[in-house]
C-alpha cells in the first residue's frame, strides 16, 4: 500500500508558557523549540505499522520551508521511506484550503492508496486539512481515527473516537483520507543515531510551478481566513479565591461544602 502522511512542524509547548510579542502580531519565538506535531507522529507510526504488515511504502510530506526538513528527516529516521518538502514563497500565508490545494497537487503526481493526517495540530487546533484534502480529491474521509485494520486492498475497517469514549466502527474504501487521533498506537522512539543515518538522504523539493499551481490558488492572496493578532483575553469574574493559610482555607471550604450539601 502506498501511504502518504502529511506532517506539520509546530512549536513545543510542553512546560513552557507561550508569550505574545508586544505588538500582538505573533508569539515570541526566540526560545521556542520545534518538533513534529504529536498527532502527525502517531499517523506516521500507524503508516509504518501498516506498511510492515501489508507491504508498500510510506512517504511523509510537509508544506513549509527549509527548517521543516528536520521534521521530515526525523519521520524518515522513524521508518518512513521517503520525505518530500513542498516549498515556495508563494505558499506563505496559505489558509487551510490553500494547504489542502497544495497537497492535492502533490497527491495527483503520485499514486497513493491512503493518506493520513493528524486529527489536529497543537498550534492552531483547526483539524481541517485532512477533510479538505479528501473533499478536493473526492476521496472518502474519516476523522479522529483510533484504529485501522486492512481488510483487503480496497477496504479498511476503522474506528473513530466519538463522545463518551465510545468507538464508531466504519468500513471505508480505498483510496481514502484519514485523520488520526492520538493514542492509536505507541510511537517508536527515534534515536539520534537513527537521525544521523538518514542525514544524507535526499528530500526532493517542489514549488508552485512544479505542482502546476497558480498564484491565485495558494498563499496569502488566496486565503479567506487570516489571523489578525494574538491576545490574552481579560480574565472575567472567575472563581472567588479563598485567602488565608491552608488550615483556615480548608475550614472555610469545608463549611461551604457542607452548606452546599456536598458532605454526606
Amino acid at each position: 500500500m502506498e501511504i502518504l502522511v502529511c506532517v506539520k512542524r509546530v512549536p513545543d509547548i510542553g512546560e513552557n508558557e507561550i508569550e505574545i510579542t508586544s505588538d500582538g502580531k505573533d508569539i515570541k519565538r526566540e526560545d521556542l523549540v520545534y518538533s513534529v506535531n504529536e498527532w502527525d507522529n502517531y499517523a506516521v507510526e500507524e503508516a509504518i505499522q501498516i506498511r510492515d504488515k501489508v507491504g508498500g511504502s510510506v512517504t511523509v510530506v510537509s508544506v513549509g520551508d527549509d527548517e521543516w526538513e528536520d521534521v521530515l528527516r526525523r519521520e524518515m529516521a522513524m521508518g518512513a521511506d521517503k520525505g518530500v518538502l513542498l516549498k515556495d514563497e508563494k505558499f506563505d500565508g496559505s489558509d487551510g484550503k490553500g494547504l489542502a490545494t497544495i497537497l492535492k497537487a502533490f497527491v495527483e503526481k503520485g499514486n497513493y492508496d491512503l493518506i493520513l493526517t493528524g486529527a489536529q495540530a497543537s498550534d492552531d487546533g483547526a483539524g481541517q486539512v485532512g477533510g479538505m484534502l479528501a473533499a478536493l480529491l473526492d476521496w472518502p474521509f474519516a476523522s479522529l481515527v483510533n484504529k485501522i485494520e486492512v481488510v483487503d486492498d480496497k477496504t479498511l475497517r476503522i474506528g473513530r473516537e466519538i463522545e463518551g469514549g465510545n468507538q464508531e466502527i466504519n468500513e471505508i474504501q480505498l483510496p481514502c483520507v484519514l485523520s488520526i487521533q492520538s493514542g492509536i498506537n505507541e510511537p517508536r522512539y527515534v534515536s539520534l543515531r537513527g537521525i544521523r543515518k538518514v542525514a544524507s538522504k535526499e528530500i526532493p523539493v517542489y514549488g508552485c510551478e512544479d505542482l502546476g499551481l497558480s498564484e491565485d490558488q495558494v498563499g496569502e492572496k488566496a486565503a479567506k481566513v487570516k489571523r489578525i493578532d494574538y491576545f490574552i483575553p481579560e480574565i472575567g469574574k472567575g472563581a472567588e479565591i479563598l485567602e488565608g493559610d491552608l488550615e483556615e482555607v480548608a475550614e472555610k471550604l469545608a463549611e461551604l461544602l457542607k452548606a452546599k450539601g456536598g458532605i454526606k
Binding site: D12, N16, V33, Y189, S191, L192, R193
Partner: protein, 677 residues
Amino acid sequence: MMKEVLSPAYTTFLGLPGSFWGVLIPLVGIACFLYIVARRLIPLAKAAPDPRFDRINLRIKNLFRYWLFQYKQPRYIVAGVIHIVIFAGFLVLSIRSISLVIEGFYPDFVFPGLGGFLGKVYSVLKTYFATFVFIACIVAVIRRVVFKPERYKVPPKYGKEHTFEAIFVLALIGSLMVFESLFEASSGTKEALPPLTLAWFFKLILPTSSISFLQSVHTTSYFIHDFIFFFFLCFLPFGKHFHVLTSIFNVFFMKLDRGVVKPVRYGISEEELDNLEYFGIKYFEDFTWKHMLDFYTCVDCGRCSDNCPANFVGRPLSPRFLTIKSREYMFDRFPVLGLIKPKEPVVGKIFEEDEIWSCTTCGACEEECPVCNEYINKIVDLRRGLVDEGNVPQTIQKALNALEKRGNPYGKMESKRLEWAKSLEGIEVKEVSKKFKPEVLYFVDSATSYDERLQEIAKATATILTKAGVNFGVLGKKEKDSGHEVRRFGEEFLFMTLRDMNTEAILESGASLIVTSDPHAYNCLKKDYSDIPPVEHITEFILRLINEGKIKLKPIEQDDLVFTYHDPCYLGRHNLLYDVPRMVLDSIPNLKRVEMKRCRDRSFCCGGGGLMLFYEAEEEKRMGQVRAEMAYEAGANVIITACPFCLVNIEDGIKTSGLEGKVRVMDITELILQQLS
C-alpha cells in the same frame, strides 16, 4: 595367596587388566572433556570483542583476593564457610586427584616434589580435607533440602527448581571423597591413617583379614573414583559447576573499574560508530565473550537477586535469572552435540523489555557476586539495542526528546536553569562568563536545577560555599544534563552530544575544580567525561572545609534526633565514598548516628535517578518506601542522604509508608547549612 593389596593397575577389573581401564577411562574422559570445552568455546569465538589484558598486576591481585582467598564468600556466612571448605578441599585434593589418575596406568607414580617428608605432610593434609569436604557436602545437602534458603527458590515463570542438580553434584563430590577414602583405607598398609578422617573411619570398619576382599574394595573403589572423576569433569560444563573450571578465568578477566560503562563496541572509535549496522544487543553474538563467560560461570547462588532492589520490590528483573536464562539459551543454541541453531533476536526470546528497563544500575548484584560477574554493562548494551529499534517506553521517550531539545528531561527552558538562585537571599550565584572565571565550578545538573524540592540542595550548597569564602560559579544556561542516565539508558549519541556541549562549557569556564551535589553527575563527569578538571562530590569538599576550619558547625540541639546515613549508589558502591559523608556527619557535635542493617556496600537503592524517575515500573512497592521503612526499623528519625534522587525517592517513600511525622529525610547539604555557625 596374595600377601598385599596391589595397585589397581596390576589387577583386573571387570575381566580386563586394570591398566587398561587406567588408560581408557582417562583417555575417553579427557577426549570427551576437550571436545565439550571446545564446543562450549564456540559462542565465545563468535562474540563481540572485549579487551581484558590490561593492568595485569591488578588482575593478578584480584585473582588472589576473589578467587584464591574467596573474599566475597563470607558475605553469606553459612554458605560461605561451606564453600570455602569445599573449594580449599578441591585445591588441596587436586594434586591427589592427578596422582590417582596417573597411578591407574603408572602405579609407582610419585607427584614431583612430594617424595619424602613433604609427601607425608601432604598425605595427612589431603586426608583431612577429603573428610572436611565430605562433611561440608552433607551439611550442604541438609541445608538445601531441609532449610531451603529463600534465594535458591525458582519462581514458576523461570521453570523448575534447581535442587536436583545441586544435590546430584554434591552427591558426586561426596562420593569422590568416599571412594578416595575407601581406596586409601583399603590399601592394606600398616601405617595408621590420620585419626577421625573418613579414610580412618573406613579403615576401622574394613576387615583386615581378607586380603582378597580388601583388594576388590581397593580396585573397585579406585575405578569407581576414576570414572566418577572423569564423569564429573565432563559434567561440569553442563551446568552451574562449570564455574569450577571457569571461575579462575572469570575473576582474572573481571571488570576493574566501578561506575564505568563499556563503549558501544570495543575496537570501534566514536567517529566510526556511524558505520555500525546497529547498536546494542540484537542477537546473542552481540554479547562480548566476557559476558558469555559470565553466563557460564554463574553459580546460581542467588546472592545477586537477593540484593537486587528491583527484584525485592517485585519488578520483573532478577539478575540471577537474566544469567541463567542466557546460559540455558547458550546450551540450547550452541549444543555440545548437534547443530548450532540460527540466530534470532534475543529480546522477546530470552529477555523481556520491562526486565531490561527495570534495572536502576545500583550495582548491588556486581558487589555481591562471588565469581565477579558483571551486569550493568549487559543491561546497558541491551538497552542500546532497544533504543536502536525505537522500542522505548513512552514516558522515557518524552524525557529523552526533552533532553534533546532543551538539555533537561523536564522540557523546561534553558533560561530557567538558574531560577533557583534568584530566590536566594543575600547569596549571589554567578554565572561563568568571559569576565568571571572562578576556580571552582559548581555543576548543578538538571534535577537539582529544576525540581522545586531539589532546588533546596542547590541553594544550600551555594550558601555553604559562599559562607566558606569559596570563589565559585555555575554554568547556568550553558549547563546541560550531564547525560549520566542518558548513556545508561542506551541513548549513546544523545549522551555524546550532551557531554560535548558540557565539556566545552566547562573548559571555557576556566575552573580548576568541579564540585557537585549530585552523585550521578559526579560519576558521569569523573568516568564518562575526559579531559576536564578534577571532580569532587560536595561532601569531599565540605570535609576539607571542615578540616581547614573554614566552616564551623554548631551542635544538634534536639536530643531525641537519631540520624542515619543512606549511602547513595553512585557515591558508595560506584565510587567507594563511604567514609567521607560519615566523617562530615560526625563532625557535627551531639549528632547521634545509627547504621541501617543494609549500609555501605550493601546499601539499598532508593529507586534510581535521572531517567529512572520517568520510568513507570510494574512493582509491588516503591524502593524509596522500603528504604524509609528500613531507616525507621534501625531506630532513626532523620535520614541523611547525599543525592537529590535519594532525597525525593525517600521523601515520597515516607509519605506512602505512613511514616510522615515519624521519619524525615534531609540532604547532607541541608543539614550542614542548618548547623552552620
